[in-house]
C-alpha cells in the first residue's frame, strides 16, 4: 500500500515558509547577541594573581625564565630582591624572570627626587617563543619613566600592562629603540582588558602605593624573593646558548669535555643576582 503525501494549499505553504524564515532570523539574532567576554582578571588585582592563573592554562610556561629588560631614567639605581634584601644593579637590569612570580624592585637616586625611593613590582604573565639562542636578544622591555616615578612618589598608583603588538593591527609608525609607546586607559577601563584588545599582555608593572612596613623587608613585602637568571654579557657563547633550558640526560652524557659540562651546568643554574 502506498501512502500519498497530503497536498498543501498555497496558503499553508506560504505560512510554513514564513515560519521557517522567522526561525532562521531568530537564530541569527540569538547568535549575534552573544554576551561580551567576561574577564576574570583585572589590572587592579593583587600582584601574582594573574600570573598564577596563567600558569594553570597549560603550555610551556612553568619553569621558564622569560628575559625581561628593566630600564630606569639615567642616573637612577635599580635594586633587585635577593634573599629578602636589595642588591644594586644599575640603570638597567636584564634578567630572566619566572612566569607567575612577582619581583620586587627598589628604585633610588631618582633624578630630581634624591632621597626618595620607589618599590615597584614586575609580574610576567606570558612568554615569547624566539628562535633558539635569541632569548636574551628579545626581552620584554619594562620602562620606568621619570614621570611615573614622580607619580608614585606623589602617592599615586600606576599600573602599566606591557603587551606584544599584533603585527596585523600595529601602528604604522616607526618606534624608537628606547621609548615605549603607551596608551592611557580611560577612567573605569580595565588596562588588562584593553591590552588584550590591542595585543598579547606579557607583563604588569605596578608603581607606588606600598612601602616596607615596620618589620622591614619581610617575605610578604618581597614576595619570597623568587629566583632570577641574570644575563651576563661576557662572551658570545653565553648569548647563543639558552641557559634556562635544561638539557636532557642523554644530551648531557654526550658532552665529552668535563670542563664544558661543568661550565654549562653552572650556566644553567639560576644563581642569585650578585
Amino acid at each position: 500500500m502506498v501512502h500519498k503525501l497530503r497536498s498543501q494549499t498555497p496558503m499553508v505553504r506560504v505560512a510554513g515558509n514564513v515560519l521557517v524564515c522567522a526561525v532562521w532570523v531568530g537564530l541569527a539574532l540569538v547568535a549575534k547577541a552573544e554576551p561580551p567576554v567576561h574577564y576574570h582578571h583585572a589590572g587592579i588585582m593583587p600582584p601574582g594573581a594573574i600570573g598564577t592563573a596563567q600558569l594553570q592554562r597549560g603550555g610551556p610556561l612553568p619553569g621558564y625564565f622569560q628575559p625581561v629588560e628593566i630600564k630606569a631614567p639615567a642616573g637612577a639605581l635599580i635594586s633587585a630582591a635577593v634573599s629578602n634584601d636589595f642588591v644594586d644593579q644599575g640603570e638597567r637590569l636584564l634578567a630572566g624572570f619566572l612566569i607567575g612570580s612577582v619581583y620586587r624592585l627598589r628604585i633610588g637616586n631618582i633624578p630630581g627626587q634624591e632621597g626618595m625611593e620607589v618599590f615597584p613590582t614586575v609580574e610576567v604573565i606570558d612568554r615569547l617563543y624566539p628562535p633558539p639562542g635569541q632569548e636574551f636578544r628579545f626581552p620584554i622591555p619594562v620602562e620606568l619613566s621619570q614621570e611615573e616615578l614622580e607619580m608614585a612618589i606623589a602617592g599615586r598608583f600606576v599600573t602599566r600592562v606591557i603587551y606584544l603588538e599584533d603585527p596585523e593591527s600595529a601602528l604604522p609608525a616607526a618606534q624608537p629603540r628606547d621609548e615605549q609607546p603607551y596608551f592611557e586607559a580611560p577612567d573605569g577601563e580595565n588596562p588588562l582588558e584593553l591590552a588584550d584588545t590591542l595585543g598579547r599582555p606579557m607583563a604588569i608593572l605596578r608603581l607606588g602605593g606600598r612601602l616596607p612596613g615596620p618589620e622591614g623587608l619581610d617575605d610578604l613585602f618581597m614576595f619570597g624573593s623568587p629566583p632570577m637568571l641574570k644575563w651576563k654579557p661576557t662572551t658570545q657563547a653565553a648569548v647563543s646558548s639558552p641557559p634556562e633550558l635544561p638539557l636532557p640526560q642523554s644530551v648531557q652524557r654526550r658532552t665529552s669535555s668535563a670542563v664544558r659540562s661543568a661550565s654549562h651546568a653552572a650556566k644553567l643554574q639560576p644563581s642569585p643576582v650578585r
Binding site: 628579545f138 598608583f157 599584533d166 604604522p172 596608551f183 586607559a185 598579547r200 636532557p248 644530551v251
Partner: protein, 393 residues
C-alpha cells in the same frame, strides 16, 4: 611506445619489482589524477576560470609543509619552530613574526578590466601571460622575520582629595547644610582601539608542483644588480636558477622554514631527448621514470631575506628570484610585493637584473606596493633577480 618500452629504452628497467610498482604508481598519479588525490599542480577548471579580455586566469599555489618536532627532546627544545600548540601551523605565535610573501586569505585575481584585485598586505605574486593567452598568477614563498614589538597600557589611580567645611563651634544659629566640594583627578582619555587580530589555523597544503626540467643552465645577465650577491642570497638557485640539494639547508634559513623545497622543484634531468624526472627523497626509495610532458607554462618565484630576526629600526634586504621553468615563452611578467605595515621600503634601493618599469604605490597599511613590469618576454630557462631594502618599524 608502451611504458615498459620506455623503461627499457631509458636503461632504467633493472630496478626490480619495487621500482616497477613505484613507477606504475607514479604513472597512474600523473596520467589519471583522481579528484580526491593531491594534484601535482592545481589549476582552475576551464569552466570556472574567469576571463579577462579574452584571456583565462590560472593560479599556481605555493608549497608548504608541516612543522617538525622531535619527540625525543623536551618542549620547546626539540621543535622547529620552537613550540606550537597542536593543530596550529608554524611559525607560531604569529604576533611575534613579520611575514611577507605568498598569497594569504583572499586570492589575487584580475577584474574584468584587467585590474589586480585581492592583493593584500604581505602578498607577493608574479603575473604573466602565456603564449596561448592565459594569464597566470604565481605567488612566492613566505618569508618570516622574528621581530616582536611592544607597547603598554597605563592606568593611573590615586586617592581622591576631599575638602569638607565643618560647622564652626559655638555659633548659635540654625544648623545649615554642610557644603562639600570634591576634586578628582582627570584620568579620562580618548583613543582609537584597533580591531582584534585573530590567530587562524591555516590548512596545510599538500599540493606539489611538478615542474618541467631546464635543459640548460640559464645565463643570468647582471645589469642592474650592484655590489654582487650578498651572503644570504649567494645560492646557486638565485644565481642560475638551479636547485642544489646541498644548498637546501641554507635556503631554508633564508625562507620560511615551513616551506618544503621538494624534489619536484629540483628536477633537472634529460634522458634520450625526453624529459625525465629523478626523485630522491627520504620518504621513498630512489625512483626514476620518464614521462612525456604536455606543453604548459611555469614560473617559479623564490623570495629570501637577509636575516631571520630583526629589531625595530633594522634594515632587512629582500631578494626575489624568478625563473621560467615552463616550455614556452611568457610575456607581460609583473612582479608585485605588497609590504606589510611594519616594513618600510627604503626609497631608491630597488634593483632588477632585467629591464623593468618599477613603481612603489602606497597601500592600505601605510606601506607600499612594489611593482616591476618587465618589458621583455621571458624565454624558456631564463630568469631574473629583484632586490630591495626595508626598514623594520
Amino acid at each position: 611506445m608502451s611504458t615498459s618500452q620506455r623503461i627499457m629504452r631509458a636503461g632504467l628497467g633493472h630496478g626490480g619489482v619495487l621500482l616497477l610498482l613505484a613507477f606504475a604508481t607514479s604513472c597512474r598519479t600523473m596520467q589519471s589524477p583522481k579528484p580526491d588525490s593531491a594534484p601535482l599542480e592545481t589549476r582552475q577548471a576551464s569552466a570556472q576560470v574567469p576571463v579577462v579580455n579574452g584571456a583565462a586566469i590560472e593560479r599556481t599555489p605555493a608549497v608548504q609543509a608541516e612543522p617538525f618536532c622531535n619527540d625525543q627532546l623536551p618542549i620547546p627544545l626539540g621543535c622547529n619552530p620552537p613550540w606550537a600548540p597542536p593543530g596550529i601551523a608554524g611559525p607560531w605565535p604569529h604576533d611575534e613574526y613579520l611575514e611577507d610573501g605568498g598569497d594569504r586569505d583572499v586570492q589575487v585575481n584580475l577584474g574584468r578590466q584587467g585590474e589586480i584585485r585581492g592583493l593584500e598586505l604581505e602578498d607577493t605574486v608574479a603575473i604573466f601571460d602565456t603564449a596561448d593567452g592565459v594569464t597566470v598568477i604565481k605567488p612566492s614563498n613566505r618569508v618570516c622575520l622574528y621581530a616582536p614589538r611592544f607597547a603598554a597600557v597605563r592606568k593611573v589611580t590615586g586617592v581622591a582629595q576631599n575638602l569638607q567645611n565643618d560647622q564652626p563651634i559655638g555659633v548659635q544659629l540654625p544648623v545649615r547644610a554642610v557644603a562639600e566640594r570634591e576634586e578628582l583627578f582627570a584620568t579620562t582619555a580618548v583613543q582609537p582601539v584597533q580591531p582584534v587580530g585573530g590567530i587562524g589555523t591555516k590548512q596545510p597544503s599538500i599540493e606539489r608542483v611538478r615542474e618541467t626540467p631546464i635543459p640548460f643552465i640559464s645565463e643570468q645577465p647582471i645589469r642592474a644588480i650592484e655590489s654582487g650577491l650578498a651572503t644570504y642570497e649567494n645560492l646557486r638557485i638565485l644565481r642560475q636558477g638551479v636547485f642544489e640539494e646541498s644548498e637546501k639547508a641554507r635556503l631554508m634559513e633564508a625562507v620560511d622554514a615551513a616551506i618544503t623545497w621538494s624534489h619536484d622543484q629540483a628536477v633537472q634531468v634529460m634522458l634520450n631527448e625526453q624529459h625525465a624526472i629523478a626523485i630522491t627523497t627520504d620518504q621513498r626509495a630512489q625512483v626514476t621514470f620518464s614521462v612525456e610532458e604536455p606543453e604548459r607554462p611555469c614560473l617559479r618565484v623564490i623570495k629570501v631575506a637577509s636575516r631571520k630576526t630583526a629589531q625595530p629600526g633594522d634594515i632587512v634586504d629582500f631578494t626575489i628570484r624568478f625563473d621560467n621553468l615552463g616550455d614556452q615563452v611568457i610575456r607581460h611578467v609583473v612582479l608585485m610585493d605588497n609590504l606589510t605595515t611594519r616594513l618600510e621600503y627604503v626609497a631608491g634601493t630597488a634593483q632588477s637584473s632585467r629591464s623593468a618599469d618599477f613603481s612603489a604605490e602606497p597601500n592600505e597599511g601605510d606601506s607600499v606596493v612594489l611593482r616591476w613590469d618587465f618589458v621583455d618576454p621571458l624565454p624558456v630557462g631564463q630568469g631574473g633577480l629583484v632586490r630591495f631594502h626595508c626598514r623594520v618599524r
